[in-house]
């Protein structure tokens, strides 16, 4: 389908912003068959996440989990990273945009730079290190952080004195002082905006005394302080005296929720969780018993299993003080006195060693300008305007948005949105899939299995990085003496383009069949050298690297002789291993070009529809008689969007799409196979007929249900209802039926019914907004009505805060209760009376009420059978568990299976739609590959020695080995992750891990220790 101008859509996409959202969108799209131009104004990708220490709620090290993504983005053939670049303008329409771009000079040519770091070593300038939040210094020639992608240096010309030293030492001739800005344009089919937010600057306010008190830090500064790679190398210290603090306070809502006159009015959605995390991690870092206190208004731990994280923090002794701070005053030389009023209005004060300001998000000025240039609408908070039912689409067709530009949010939500935006894009441009992508054209591979090893050794000088310390010629000559070595040489930069070409020629000429490169780390360079082999028709596994830079010259600079000796040892080890390397075949398996979607609610329908729009076929299996799910019980959203017309049109669209097969009253009866090739039997309709489907992916969207309360006279008194019941009452009123809420004098709502208690420690996320939504609606119906909301913490996260503010403005009363002093609901004949404790008056109050509305928990649907069939995990409360809470929020750890909607955890309709698009994107990017390469460095079983003992079956963390019909273990290469655990457990030594076989490992050790005894 071409667009209105008749032109075929472009198969390329512009992604603006290379933080975690931009990277995820790029990866999804590039794997889906689109060429991605990933633009970031900074010299590196990674965004704010790269600056974080640990991430909630898993406490994973942020760099540990983001760095594989950085590498993946950096290596992807179809991601064109454009660092130091900004978007100047956007012309055209969805499908055919022309983007004007401007690249700022970097002064170092990324094509030539090998990231050897010589330039930085000689740079005489010191400048503030923004990456460490100005807590330490860097050179003018710098790399933002060691794992940075693209791997190359930058010169900060704002501070550079132009001394020319770096230019002199750079043997790769990458330094260009005369580099200039370049303007250029690109044709793309769609744009995804993921520029992220800025951190609120607390220096605007006197209250926090941030500029004058060195021990008052922002939360991002504190992240760097905690980080092992940060300014203090992970030692918990405060900036003023570098002493370990014994007492730290966190102040919440700095820059959010209108605490001060010119703060932002919204909630920044992430600060409660990160403050708890920082407190917990700080306690872990501390040598003594660190006292931590968090001063907050509402503790908004609304995400999946966040509440349990909060509870654990309380158990760890983190103090939570519900209060606002009046002031921070210096105490003694550098301590800090906080003055605050507690909940009863009592004035209190306490001295801390250090104060962390939990600063919020805001859209940066440059981003606002960008929005204007791209002609997209921004709301009053400067966030991009989106429609609740199209949460990733901006006001301009063909321009999508994800991450914090759409609204404040945490990493998993950003990642979901990124995939969601990719799904939208992929559906828009599906006709042009694979039209602009690059692919490698490789010659057929030469079979070397019968040949004796002929090893070529290439020793890299890495400029002077290696050659300056290690006697490279001596290492080269030493290599010549080793067994099977037929060629040696050394290079200035083995990785440079010209060397690669020459290496290929030498390998051909000399009949070399194993290559050893003694240079830097395989982490960054192995893919490059493997490509060199592939280019000349050799199997990529016939390559071995000796890391004589990072493991030698860089770390043994002071002793050249020993460094040279070690280089020889490392080369000897690699040559010995190379001689035993074997070529490994990777087989291609066809991927079934269809997906099975389980659950026909909003999430399942959106997932199926997007898959179909992407050009894949979808089978939508719904247990009930009709599509629609839980959304059928919601009249409108808090922002006034009518839900039923939306659901009706969605159903119509799903049913009408030729690519979707809808099966109602249906259930999965059996499931087998593996990613790309699943076989599922579905019992269809009321008959007992089973239909069999072959499909490549599965999306689980089985939904949730509202808790039916056992408390507060629910089910005993007509005036007691859940929020969902109230929705029905309001709808019936519209139809002129039943109990008319307009006649109520007073309605009292009780929050957290069935949530956040012993039975169900989770927060149900959506009930606070349901209560506020209905309260506002009741108020509209009868402005004289008294409405009281009894709550524990009002969790009106993100932009929902506006509705909370509005509700208070309209006189809706909010009164807090504690879990150990629940409100009491009693029947008073026809009426009801509610007793609750008022914290301000400090006494119990009794009020009559016409209606008591219970904000009942959202509970997982019953999926016992399905979870067993699919072998996917669920948590103790029945919600499915994603592969990784932070970075893989819609994937299951079993590949090819995805999840979305409330089956994952309670969420709003817009969030469910986002997640369903995300699941469709993940599924689509897998299907788009059409084939799957399996094999390579995976485990394989020697049938003749297998004792069928089940040790591998028991020890595999992924459940891959199976005892087959021949009664021996079988390891499916498509599923094996290659960790080697089973290999090292097998009591019969019947399993080996290709490329890491026992002899390939021990021969290295043997070579290292040659002659030791």
């Amino acid at each position: 389908m071409a667009n209105s101008s008749g032109k075929k859509k472009k198969g390329a996409v512009l992604v603006v912003g290379a933080g975690v959202a931009g990277m995820q969108a790029s990866l999804d799209l590039a794997s889906s068959g689109y060429l991605v131009h990933l633009v970031d104004k900074s010299p590196t990708i990674g965004g704010i996440m790269s600056q974080l220490d640990k991430t909630f709620p898993t406490n994973d090290c942020a760099m540990c989990i983001i760095s594989p993504k950085l590498v993946e983005v950096g290596r992807h053939l179809n991601i064109n990273i454009l660092p130091n670049t900004e978007v100047e303008g956007l012309e055209g329409e969805a499908g055919n945009f022309q983007v004007a771009l401007k690249s700022h000079p970097r002064y170092i040519d990324l094509k030539a730079c090998t990231a050897c770091g010589q330039c930085r070593q000689v740079c005489p300038v010191t400048a503030v290190n923004e990456f460490n939040q100005a807590l330490d210094l860097r050179e003018a020639t710098y790399m933002r952080y060691p794992q940075a992608i693209p791997r190359g240096f930058t010169i900060d010309r704002n501070v550079c004195i132009g001394c020319g030293l770096c230019e002199k030492v750079c043997l790769a001739e990458a330094v260009h002082y005369d580099d200039t800005a370049k303007e250029f344009s690109l044709d793309v089919g769609a744009v995804i905006l993921a520029p992220g937010n800025e951190i609120f600057d607390p220096s605007k306010f006197d209250t926090y005394n941030y500029l004058n008190l060195p021990n008052v830090v922002t939360s991002l500064e504190f992240e760097r302080i905690l980080s092992a790679s940060g300014p203090y190398r992970g030692h918990l210290m405060r900036p003023y005296d570098r002493e370990e603090p014994a007492k730290i306070a966190w102040l919440q809502c700095v820059g959010s929720r209108n605490i001060n006159a010119c703060d932002n009015s919204y909630c920044s959605a992430v600060c409660c969780m990160y403050a708890i995390k920082e407190a917990v991690i700080a306690k872990e870092h501390a040598h003594g018993n660190l006292d931590t206190a968090i001063f907050y208004m509402d503790m908004r731990t609304y995400g999946k299993e966040f509440e349990q994280y909060y509870n654990r923090a309380k158990e760890h002794g983190v103090r939570f003080i519900r209060s606002r701070i009046h002031s921070i005053e210096p105490e003694g030389e550098c301590d800090l006195r906080l003055t605050y009023a507690d909940e009863q209005g009592q004035q209190k004060s306490e001295v801390f060693d250090m104060v962390v300001l939990s600063v919020g998000f805001e859209v940066g000025k440059e981003t606002v300008e960008l929005g204007k240039r791209l002609n997209i609408d921004l709301n009053r908070h400067k966030f991009a305007v989106t429609d609740g039912f199209k949460p990733v689409e901006t006001s301009r067709p063909g321009v999508y948005v994800c991450g914090t530009l759409q609204g404040p949010k945490d990493i998993p939500q950003s990642v979901m949105e990124a995939s969601g935006a990719a799904a939208g894009t992929s559906a828009l441009l599906s006709e042009s899939r694979w039209t602009e992508t690059r692919s490698l054209q490789l010659p057929p591979q030469r079979d070397v299995s019968k040949e004796p090893p002929r090893i070529g050794v290439f020793v890299c000088n890495c400029g002077i990085n290696i050659g300056g310390i290690v006697d490279v010629p001596a290492v080269r000559e030493y290599a010549r003496t080793l067994p099977y070595v037929v060629h040696v040489e050394d290079n200035l930069f083995t990785c440079s383009q010209d060397t690669q070409v020459r290496m290929g020629q030498v390998i051909k000429e000399k009949g070399i069949n194993r290559m050893v490169v003694a240079a830097c780390t395989p982490l960054t360079h192995e893919p490059l050298f493997r490509e060199t082999l592939l280019d000349i028709g050799l199997n990529k596994y016939l390559f071995e690297m000796a890391n004589i830079r990072n493991q030698d010259s860089w770390v043994h600079m002071k002793d050249r002789q020993k460094a040279t000796d070690k280089a020889k040892d490392l080369v000897r080890m690699s040559v010995a291993r190379a001689a035993l390397l074997q070529q490994l075949e990777e087989q291609k398996i066809q991927i079934q070009q269809s997906g099975l979607v389980i659950g026909g609610g909003i999430a399942g329908m959106n997932a199926a529809l997007n898959l179909a729009q992407q050009g894949f076929s979808a089978i939508l299996v719904e247990k009930g008689t009709e599509l629609g799910g839980l959304a059928r019980c919601v009249t409108h959203t808090i922002d006034g969007m009518e839900v039923q017309p939306y659901v009706d049109s969605l159903i119509a669209e799903v049913k009408a799409h030729p690519g979707i097969k809808v099966l109602t009253e249906s259930e999965v009866t059996s499931f087998k196979g593996y990613k790309g090739n699943f076989t599922t039997k579905v019992r269809v309709g009321s008959s007992l007929e089973e239909e069999t489907f072959e499909h490549g992916v599965v999306i689980v969207a089985t939904g949730a249900k509202e808790y039916r309360p056992k408390e507060f006279l629910y089910g005993e008194h007509d005036g007691v209802m859940t929020q969902m019941d109230l929705d029905e009452v309001l709808r019936q009123r519209g139809a002129g039926n039943g109990n008319d809420p307009a006649k109520w004098n007073r309605a009292i709502m009780i929050q957290c019914v069935g949530s956040r208690n012993e039975e169900n420690p989770n927060c149900s996320r959506i009930c606070c907004q349901s209560a506020v939504k209905h309260a506002l609606e009741l108020k509209k119906l009868n402005p004289a009505m008294d409405i009281v909301i009894l709550y524990r913490d009002m969790r009106m996260y993100g932009l929902l805060e506006d509705y909370y503010t509005e509700a208070r403005r309209q006189g809706i009363i909010f009164s807090r209760f504690d879990l150990d002093d629940l409100p009491k609901v009693e029947s008073n004949g026809a009426g009801l009376k509610v007793t609750f404790h008022d914290h301000v008056l400090q006494r119990h109050i009794q009020m009559p009420a016409d209606a008591v509305v219970l904000s009942a928990a959202t509970l997982a649907a019953n999926t016992d059978q399905l979870a067993t069939q699919l072998k996917v995990p669920r948590n103790a409360y029945g919600f499915f568990i994603e592969a990784h809470a932070k970075l893989r929020p819609v994937d299951f750890s079993s590949e090819g299976i995805y999840l979305c909607g409330t089956a994952h955890s309670p969420k709003l309709i817009s969030e469910s739609i986002t997640q369903s698009l995300a699941a469709a994107s993940r599924a689509g990017s897998f299907l788009a590959g059409k084939t799957l390469s399996v094999g390579g460095a995976v485990a394989h079983v020697d049938k003749s020695h297998c004792a069928a003992c089940l040790v591998c079956v028991m020890s595999c963390p992924y459940g891959v080995p199976k005892i087959n019909d021949e009664n021996v273990s079988e390891i499916n290469p498509a599923l094996c992750q290659g960790c080697g655990v089973c290999v090292s457990e097998c009591p019969a030594k019947a399993i080996q891990l290709s490329h890491f076989e026992d002899d390939q490992i021990t021969v290295e050790v043997h070579a290292l220790l040659e002659g030791a005894v």
Partner: protein, 222 residues
Amino acid sequence: MIIAEPKPIDEIIDSLKDFNRILVAGCDGCVTVCEAGGMKEVEVVASALRIYFKQAGRAVTVDEISLTRQCDRPYTAQLADKIDQYDAVLSLACGVGVQFLAEDYKNKPIFPGVNTCFMGGTEEKGLWTERCQGCGKCILANTGGICPIARCSKRMLNGPCGGSSDGRCEVNKDIACGWHLIYERLKELGQLDRFETPTDPKDWNTSRDGGPRKVIKEVSRL
């Protein structure tokens, strides 16, 4: 299967320290499955022995092999062409294998490398428990499929004794009371009536107490 556990390496060294040419022979049967004497253990024990001999300043050969089963002569015979090169064999098979080798190679010292423990099954990875003592006259039909001989610490046939509590044996809280299990199972099966009939003294003649046993299946004999 037969469950065994590796002997401590110092005990093995003690038995082999005077030899110069040693073959470590594993068994691919039960002891592989219970991770006591398969090829993996052969490699571990042989490597440990070589380290020991090296540090002791000795020039000792320690070779490695694993046989399909050491309790069948055609497999033990596979050592025939190799055995002369060794002064001693360390067998990692169960006691049966050790004895088969000893019978087959009369002039070679054969040492056990594992402690043969019992007949049992795999409870979980790395945990094996006893189920049968080979009494030669199975009574499981009467005891709900749970053997009191193997699973009651006092081998009672009319249990439980008065010492168990919470379903655990008086000897050790880690041991389930066998009779408690039997009771639960009989209850489940609706056969509690069996519980009140005293079981007569058992004929132990078919067990170890009758001397070394043999099983003859006439139809199978050639």
